[in-house]
């Protein structure tokens, strides 16, 4: 079975968070949808909460430290991205936006993306469409038509979800899997493929 990598970016603030819970459900459903297409999924999760300080440093220095570099490379090198944020003041969270602020302009070009968001109220569902989708449009990602919003009332206790939310997760995951299946595997960055010439290294001394 051919393998595809799903990067999952979660901007949840608490442990456990409903944001991470939704991200996990989307990843699981996407893996199942890929399996139905004969593709195996490897899931790599980036919890932005753990990179808050790294992101603040990056904003000032202009480059990511080692820990953040790993997270950025995970996202840039994945075959697809599942991005989930809590909604605050009718938009994505500041932590979520900061990660995409420091991400290279080309990192998501052509990459299939599944968007998810959580909030206390369904009133803010359209934040996915008016705030988050334009962000990924700017980055020239290929975003699945169905975005998944989970309000407090959608969680039926524990990690069980309402039938409506479960259906929506399944539909969105199916769309993402179809997008992944129709494009070639993401090229894996090989640090040894294009080494800096020794002369250039010497010249920099």
């Amino acid at each position: 079975m051919s393998t595809r990598t799903l990067a999952v970016v979660s901007a949840g603030l608490s442990v456990p968070s409903s944001t991470r819970l939704l991200a996990d459900r989307l990843a699981q459903a996407s893996a199942e949808a890929l399996a139905a297409l004969g593709l195996e999924a490897g899931v790599e999760v980036v919890e932005l909460r753990g990179h808050a300080r790294d992101l603040a440093d990056n904003l000032v220095t202009g480059f990511p430290n080692t820990a953040l570099r790993t997270a950025v490379d995970t996202v840039a090198g994945a075959d697809a991205l599942i991005a989930v944020t809590p909604i605050f003041s009718a938009s994505y969270s500041g932590l979520f936006k900061t990660f995409f602020d420091v991400l290279g302009k080309e990192a998501l070009t052509g990459k299939p993306v599944l968007m998810g968001a959580t909030a206390g109220t369904a009133r803010h569902s359209l934040a996915l469409e008016h705030a988050m989708r334009p962000l990924f449009a700017y980055l020239r990602a290929v975003v699945a038509p169905t975005a998944v919003f989970a309000a407090s009332e959608d969680w039926a206790g524990g990690d069980a979800t309402s039938a409506a939310l479960s259906d929506r997760i399944r539909r969105a995951a199916g769309e993402l899997a179809a997008l992944v299946a129709q494009r070639p595997r993401a090229a894996v960055a090989d640090p040894f493929a294009d080494p800096t010439p020794f002369e250039t290294l010497l010249a920099g001394l």
Binding site: R53, S89, S91
Partner: protein
């Protein structure tokens, strides 16, 4: 145009109306965003007879404390200043066609409705005129959600316009100042 706020421009205790606060959402210190934002606040302040420069909350100094969870004395002071402002200029550079994550991380720490009673003036500085609508599409709804009174229009300043800042700010200020003065007047009557 200048609207002197005379009788209505005083609180019951006789103090001049309007604490003016400028919030700068650029992660780098000494940013052009800050220069433009302070000039914008001054253009509005001068037209409504507000004395003094007002306070500036520059998030460049608070970055690490804003993104990481947990309390920070500096952030608390900044949040109080912003929530207590009568007139608040909210300024950001344009990153990925919207306001910065840093600005949003600060606003995320305000409780719901924290800007009720505040007149907020959204401002984005940008290199590309094609992003001008981001002020109205992205920054305005956040301020509205926080309860602010948000006069129209918001202000998109192109980097290329910075040499002619006075003219750009003057045109904008003439349009928003009647709305700001009206909101301040209502605040005094309430």
């Amino acid at each position: 145009m200048s609207i002197p706020v005379t009788d209505r421009g005083r609180r019951e205790d006789g103090a001049p109306v309007g604490s003016f606060v400028t919030l700068v959402g650029n992660p780098r210190a000494g940013s052009r965003t800050r220069t433009v934002a302070e000039a914008a606040a001054e253009a509005v302040g001068r037209r409504i007879g507000h004395d003094g420069p007002g306070e500036v909350v520059d998030l460049a100094a608070l970055g690490p404390h804003l993104l990481a969870p947990g309390p920070s004395a500096g952030v608390e002071v900044a949040l109080e200043l912003v929530a207590g402002a009568d007139v608040l200029v909210v300024a950001s550079p344009t990153y990925k066609a919207s306001y910065t994550g840093l600005l949003k991380a600060f606003l995320d720490r305000l409780p719901g409705g924290a800007l009720t009673g505040t007149t907020a003036l959204p401002l984005l500085v940008m290199g590309d005129p094609r992003h001008a609508l981001a002020v109205e599409l992205h920054l305005r709804p956040v301020l509205v959600e926080l309860g602010a009174h948000v006069p129209t229009p918001g202000l998109a300043v192109l980097e290329a316009q910075i040499p002619d800042l006075d003219e750009v700010l003057g045109r904008w200020a003439d349009r928003v100042v009647p709305q700001v003065a009206g909101a301040l007047g209502e605040g005094v009557r309430a």
